[in-house]
């Protein structure tokens, strides 16, 4: 009896001992600083465990450190292996304490080692940060947190999420959190009923994201839920199929706008003037290089102007390529009017000379042309994902088209130009200086190709080969639309774009392109003058 009592007492003491022993280590787990310092020595797998432990402390002060880790701004000091957030370019880094955020002076780059990170760690950080910032006072942060929980659901975050939802007052954030909760429930061990409600919420979310979540859950789901899941997946798929059609139209219009931009200058030099201008693509390329030069100057001289760089590049590109076009017309083409074959060869030679000149001056590699912030990223419109750069290019192409139209139809110069192209001798005898009009028209076409280059620099390589990739498409658009007719170029470009984008998903990009070419050849056989044929005396001239 006594021995049993003794044993119990001993056990009690032992438990007490263990508790007291465990207590400080528990408290230590509450302090994230040592954990963060351990990351300095950890490999990728260990670091992942550490991030889980840091998140488990629930200490929101670690958020800046995790963010810095994810951004590659976390460093370990070589002398004492302590971890700091390091910022700043140049030879020195400004250090801050990872947890308290207090400044820790600065250190030369050589004394610090950057902590390496891979995609697994980024994912772990995203999920940890999601849990930690759910209660943040900032609305945007909470929304982002709900987003990251939604993308990386875990059963551990569920209770946190529920507390956050109870406190949340903002409608949008609350909905997002509830969606995140539904996703987390699906991967938790909650009862079937809760999961069924979750599936309905996710189905309401719609889109690829929801589809991914639900399809991922099918394999491990309760048999009772299988039917529900599959029905939801089917319903989302049906909606998506509809949106796919809309998306194809949008992609087609967007491709069409690029074709229009590339072809519109040629619609003037080839369409209106009848010059087979093989150097057209190089004018586009020169425009893109003008953008590069402008951005290069802005980067070094006036970085705050960067968002305006394209607006500045537009007139520069127009004037530069216009001037080059003027010189080409005065120097070469005017001697070759009425000799299409020689014009073709001469302009082709010019294109090679321009390409190699650019290659010699700037080097053969791509030049970096940045997107201003208003041209980066995308926004969702229903089930559509519209990227800003494509939208602006579409708007830009339409604006250019109508300005050009107005210039041709409403201005005195436009009148002269049409007069010269329709009946040169008559125009000449009315006192129009036809050679001058020719030179200006060619310069205008080249200048327009140049501003197209500014826009295309936003979506394509700025390299000496830029022009070559557009020359065939440009001719295709102009010939298909009808030589000499600007409306034809517009309709031709847009319809080719849409046709291409409807073929692409079903037959692939390679075969799609071939099919489009074959269709155009057949079409030209039927209607040699293109979609909108010019009528009247000018045609025979």
């Amino acid at each position: 009896m006594t021995s049993r009592l003794f044993l119990q007492a001993f056990q009690a003491i032992l438990v007490l001992f263990v508790v007291t022993l465990a207590a400080p280590s528990f408290a230590q787990q509450g302090d994230p600083k040592p954990l963060i310092d351990q990351i300095g020595k950890a490999d990728f797998a260990q670091a992942e465990t550490l991030i889980g432990q840091i998140a488990a402390t629930g200490d929101a002060r670690v958020v800046p450190a995790l963010q810095a880790f994810s951004d590659g701004d976390l460093y370990v000091r070589k002398s004492d292996s302590l971890v700091f957030i390091g910022k700043g370019s140049g030879a020195n880094l400004d250090l801050t304490e990872p947890v308290t955020g207090a400044s820790a002076g600065s250190a030369p780059k050589g004394a610090m080692t950057k902590l390496r990170i891979n995609n697994n760690l980024r994912r772990a950080i995203r999920s940890a940060m999601g849990g930690l910032t759910l209660m943040s006072p900032d609305r945007g942060t909470r929304l982002a947190a709900a987003d990251s929980v939604l993308r990386a659901p875990s059963a551990e975050n569920l209770e946190l999420l529920e507390t956050a939802i109870a406190k949340e007052t903002d409608g949008e954030v609350k909905t997002r959190m509830e969606e995140a909760r539904a996703v987390s429930i699906l991967s938790s061990d909650r009862p079937v009923e809760a999961k069924r409600a979750a599936i309905t919420t996710i189905k309401g979310l719609g889109g690829r994201e929801a589809l991914g979540i639900l399809s991922g859950a099918v394999a491990t789901a309760d048999p009772a839920l299988k039917g529900e899941l599959e029905a939801s997946i089917k319903s989302i798929n049906d909606t998506l199929a509809l949106w796919d059609m809309v998306q194809n139209v949008w992609f087609g219009l967007s491709l069409g706008s690029v074709l229009l931009l590339a072809g519109i200058g040629l619609a003037i030099t080839f369409g209106v003037m009848g010059i087979i201008n093989m150097a057209h693509g190089e004018m586009v390329m020169l425009g893109a290089y003008c953008t590069y030069m402008v951005q290069h100057l802005i980067r070094t001289e006036a970085p705050w102007l960067f968002n305006w760089s394209l607006a500045i590049a537009l007139p520069v590109a127009f004037l530069v390529t216009g001037a080059v076009g003027f010189v080409i017309e005065r120097g070469i083409i005017r001697f070759l009017y009425g000799r299409p074959l020689e014009t073709l060869l001469a302009t082709w030679g010019v294109s090679l000379i321009l390409q190699q000149a650019i290659r010699t001056i700037f080097g053969p590699t791509n030049q970096e042309v940045g997107n201003p912030s208003w041209m980066s990223g995308s926004f969702a419109l229903g089930g559509l994902n519209i990227t800003w750069n494509r939208l602006w290019i579409l708007v830009f192409a339409v604006v250019i088209f109508f300005s050009l139209m107005a210039l041709m139809k409403k201005s005195a110069y436009g009148l002269n130009m049409r007069a010269v192209t329709q009946n040169r001798r008559m125009a000449s005898s009315m006192g129009i200086r036809t050679p001058w009009v020719d030179a200006l028209t060619f310069a205008l076409g080249s200048g327009i190709a140049g501003i197209a280059g500014v826009a295309l620099s936003q979506i394509d390589n700025v390299s000496p080969n830029l022009g070559q990739s557009y020359i065939i498409d440009s001719f295709m658009v102009v010939v298909f639309g009808g030589v000499g007719n600007l409306w034809g170029t517009l309709v031709g470009a847009l319809s080719l774009g849409v046709l291409n984008k409807f073929l692409e998903p079903s037959v692939g990009a390679v075969l799609g392109k071939i099919l489009v070419l074959v269709l155009i050849i057949l079409f030209i056989q039927k209607r040699p003058r293109g979609l909108f044929a010019l009528k009247g005396r000018a045609v025979e001239a």
Binding site: P364, N389, N461, Q468, K501
Partner: protein
């Protein structure tokens, strides 16, 4: 590169190729080396750098006292990204300029075009670019990666580290992506990946409108299984591809892209901030931390007089090939093709990542495989590095070539020995 330096180089090359004709009697005091890279046309973007690298290596060797007591002399020609012209220029280098060896080519098409010329005239070509394998020639040394030194380890990384179970094989429509994807598909299926989890897709050369393709990738990736893209997209089409990825918000954490043709050079024309975390597999990155690499980069900046010029994997392959040739010539005591072909097998030279590259009997070399993640400064951060791997010319994962081996040592001397039939000959003969 400055305008002046470039122009000077071109002038020098022009002077060299003209003097080469008249100065045949002077050939005894120099050893000529051919450099066969496009300096104009579409491939100039990649190949010009390799021409510069070769001139630097030759220059360095001359500073060390040349080779066999003679000065090395570079004969630079421009095949202008025109495949038949490659064969013509190769013939000119070998028969007119009497070069001892040629360093050059980039695309597989250009290599296939010059191969018969090198075999007919019995000269040596060092080919410095990663390629699709399925070829072995007595006269060609492949110092770039074979598929098992790049593509297969990259896919392994995706499966083991990133936990990827669904693959999009996205490529440009020509021989390298087609063959590589065929090998990868067979490999993935042998690893238990379902055929329905592999999407193979091709786009034309210089493709620039990636909207549909990227949304197709997005759709394929929303099946609830971790998905990755394996990209064999060729040079120029990469910039619009990555721009579209960034704009459509595909992050590396969600759908990582591992590329086999994107290096430091390609990234130098791009804003890499939206691309951080996407991957590339090579045998060398500029960010490799080794004394040999630091010295090489320093030399490169000094030679090009531009400390922003990046180095890349094919440059390292050129470096290895050139040094292996120098060592073999020294061992043979002559530049005679047959003797050099004998001595070069087994030659080991240091690579730039701190290891050793050995020339194997199949005319491929040993290389470590490095997986790197794109950083916001346009460099790669190495996340995995394997020990040296022997290049496998005939893939073990294609039914046609799994029984073939290549061994150019005597007495076998065969590029396509069939181990099943025990005979030399078969595919590729």
């Amino acid at each position: 590169m400055s305008f002046k330096g470039k122009f000077g180089g071109a002038l020098l090359a022009a002077v060299m190729s003209t003097t080469a004709l008249h100065g045949a009697f002077a050939a005894d005091d120099t050893i000529k080396v051919g450099v066969l890279h496009s300096l104009s046309g579409t491939m100039a973007i990649s190949e010009t750098t390799l021409k510069d690298a070769m001139l630097m290596l030759i220059d360095e060797q001359n500073k060390k006292g040349g080779l066999l007591g003679k000065k090395l002399e570079a004969v630079v020609v421009d095949p202008a990204s025109d495949w038949p012209l490659f064969a013509e220029k190769a013939r000119q280098l070998i028969s007119q300029d009497k070069v001892a060896a040629v360093f050059g080519c980039w695309t597989s098409s250009s290599r296939k075009s010059v191969l018969p010329v090198f075999e007919e005239l019995n000269s040596i070509l060092f080919y410095p670019v990663q390629y699709e394998g399925e070829e072995s020639s007595r006269n060609i040394f492949y110092t770039g990666a074979a598929p098992n030194q790049q593509a297969i380890p990259a896919v392994d990384y995706l499966m083991n580290t990133e936990g990827v179970k669904r693959f999009v094989l996205e490529g440009t429509d020509y021989v390298y992506p087609q063959t590589t994807n065929k090998i990868l598909k067979a490999y993935l299926i042998s690893k238990g990946v379902k055929e329905s989890d592999i999407l193979v897709n091709y786009t034309p050369f210089g493709f620039s409108d990636w909207q549909t393709e990227v949304s197709k990738i997005k759709a394929f990736g929303s099946a609830g299984v971790k998905t990755a893209v394996v990209s064999t997209i060729n040079g120029d089409a990469n910039v619009p591809f990555y721009k579209e990825l960034g704009n459509q918000g595909i992050k590396a954490e969600d759908i990582p892209v591992v590329a086999f043709s994107v290096g430091e050079e390609e990234l130098s024309g791009m804003d890499t901030k939206p691309l951080v975390g996407h991957l590339a597999a090579w045998n060398y990155f500029e960010s490799v931390d080794s004394p040999a690499n630091a010295a090489f980069i320093k030399e490169w900046h000094a030679f090009t007089k531009n400390d922003k010029r990046v180095t890349n994997d094919p440059m390292e392959a050129a470096y290895i090939g050139f040094n292996a040739w120098v060592k073999a010539v020294e061992a043979a005591g002559t530049t005679d093709t047959d003797k050099v072909l004998d001595t070069i097998i087994g030659v080991s030279v240091p690579n730039l990542s701190g290891g050793v590259a050995t020339v194997m009997p199949n005319h491929h070399i040993t290389k470590p495989v490095l997986i790197g993640e794109i950083q916001d400064d346009g460099q790669f951060q190495i996340v995995q590095q394997t020990p040296e791997v022997v290049g496998d010319e005939w893939s073990d994962f294609l039914p046609d070539s799994k029984n073939l081996i290549s061994d150019w040592r005597k007495p076998m001397s065969c590029g396509n020995f069939n181990v099943a039939t025990g005979k030399c000959g078969g595919k590729g003969s």
